[in-house]
Symmetry: C2
Subunit: 318 residues, 2 copies
């Protein structure tokens, strides 16, 4: 297949480049990417927060070009991002996202999806049900991050859940958590995003007006100060789920966490299969989260757009 | 009963003073205190960390002098420290230690146990089984704080539990957690305390040698830097239980907590009844934790002793 276009990150700079078609390792599936999403993690990588050199991108949908076992060939698929060894103590416990030899597509030690082709181990690949559009499919990765919260915390029907942050991850997570029967409110700062949240059927509150206390607070602020706000809004004995990964140290007073017996749960990537099943059963009305779609050729411009304050999801059509 | 001796905290100063015998509120039990323990929280109160004026002390054993219902009169008792309203949303959920109107003996809004008499609501009072000595009884409050960890975190047999800190709370908590069948190691800095821990049947490690990773890390360091050490020693997906309440803000990098999906659980006071039951069934071999016993008259001197670096439990005989 020769020479192909890809969006590369090199020394914190992004550029469109010609790359060789990946040669799948034994057991890898080769996927022709059709659509991909820009995530805040991509912005952090290009801002130098994480050291990474290679093809960016970890939210995608595509068609299987070749599968060593044959059966996936021609299927529309999405893929989970953590590639694991299967041998270490974490993998043996089934906690493959904490594999000691872990790589992650487009983030850590492995090329990503902002390219015409992507090679991925077969266990990472999930077939997209026929009823789902490409936009829903490309959002499975961030929606799964919301589903991860349901895996980690026993959120009960009737529990109050405050999703702190009205950005992409906040809106998508709130949509997933609403499906659990809990009482979700998106707490944010931006009128137009809270308005979008309401159009997606979510309850909203301005952060200056909301006093809680919530049983569960999900920090999707992307800001180091999110934890402090979450401590203020969570009930004593309640749970804060941290999604924010921001570089640098932050000063915090730990004593209210002890005295008020607050739980803090770090939360990263989630399970694809139940997220696809949820999307198949329910229309989560997600289209409003997408702000623009750019062709891969205009990928650098797409990144500039994604970096604008308040930007929602930017997709790349490949 | 007229005028009685008590150890008062006033503007961060402690002094022995004559006080009036407390007049029990309706429903309160009046207890003649026989022995009490000095806790790090008492030291923090007298160091001005918490604003408190009144009689100090919240670890005690005593004899019931009068009980409005009669049946406790003459019994040897201990008492849980949080006095609650029974009416607020927390109390209605049974989470009385987070009562919105909470007071705590010798810490917050209510006189404590470093006195000849103490008045306490009846639901806070627990009868001490005949087989237990006064020293075990006076240690029920800090042992219950260790038992609280078992209430909050599902520690499984075979789990590795690192108790960080070889002080009083660390040793007592390690003793309680060992009873759960988990694999407990006390991780500390002080040779003589680690030696004491071993004489109590506990496994030990020097903090510079211990690399973990532990399934659960209990921070009993009493230092704001304890959390950072705990993050280093806990496994990905593991749990850190925070016991340290220290004034002031501490700088911490939150991203490893998110990326490694660490859980942090604030933990305070624990349940008396199961702790008394544990002590009745098992000899926890606790006497070594007590470093000295002072009469109440020498209470100020007892505090000076308790403040010495590396001091273990100091008791007051009343």
């Amino acid at each position: 297949m020769g020479c192909l276009k890809a969006l590369l990150c090199d020394g914190g700079q992004i550029r469109l480049a010609d790359v060789a078609t990946p040669v799948p390792s034994p057991g890898d599936v080769l996927i022709r990417v059709t659509m991909a999403g820009i995530c805040n993690t991509d912005l952090e990588v290009t801002a130098g927060y994480r050291p990474f050199t290679g093809i960016l991108g970890h939210e995608f949908v595509g068609m299987v070009e070749s599968d060593p076992l044959g059966e996936l060939t021609g299927k529309r698929v999405v893929g989970s991002i953590n590639v694991y060894c299967g041998e270490c103590p974490y993998c043996r416990r089934g906690e493959t996202s904490h594999c000691l030899e872990r790589t992650a597509i487009g983030i850590n030690g492995r090329d990503g999806a902002f390219a015409e082709f992507l090679a991925l181990p077969r266990p990472n690949v999930h077939v997209v049900p026929a009823g789902l559009g490409d936009i829903e499919a490309v959002l499975v990765e961030p929606l799964a991050a919301g589903m991860r919260v349901v895996e980690q915390v026993h959120i009960q029907p009737g529990h109050s859940v405050a999703v702190l942050g009205d950005g992409k991850l906040g809106l998508l997570s709130a949509r997933v958590l609403s499906a659990t029967g809990s009482n979700v409110v998106v707490v944010g700062k931006h009128g137009h995003k809270l308005s979008l949240a309401r159009s997606m059927g979510l309850r909203t509150a301005a952060v200056d007006d909301f006093t809680g206390p919530a049983d569960v607070v999900l920090d999707c602020t992307g800001s180091v100060s999110g934890l402090e706000t979450a401590v203020r809004l969570v009930r004593s004995g309640g749970t804060i789920v941290l999604k924010t990964t921001v570089a640098g140290k932050y000063k915090i007073d730990l004593s209210p966490i002890v005295v008020r017996e607050i739980r803090i749960v770090g939360s990263r990537c989630g399970p694809f299969a139940p997220t696809l099943a949820l999307l198949e059963r329910h229309n989560l009305d997600l289209a409003g989260v997408v702000e623009a779609v750019y062709p891969l050729d205009r990928g650098v411009e797409a990144f500039e757009h994604a970096r604008r304050k308040g930007a929602l999801k930017i997709l790349l059509s490949i």
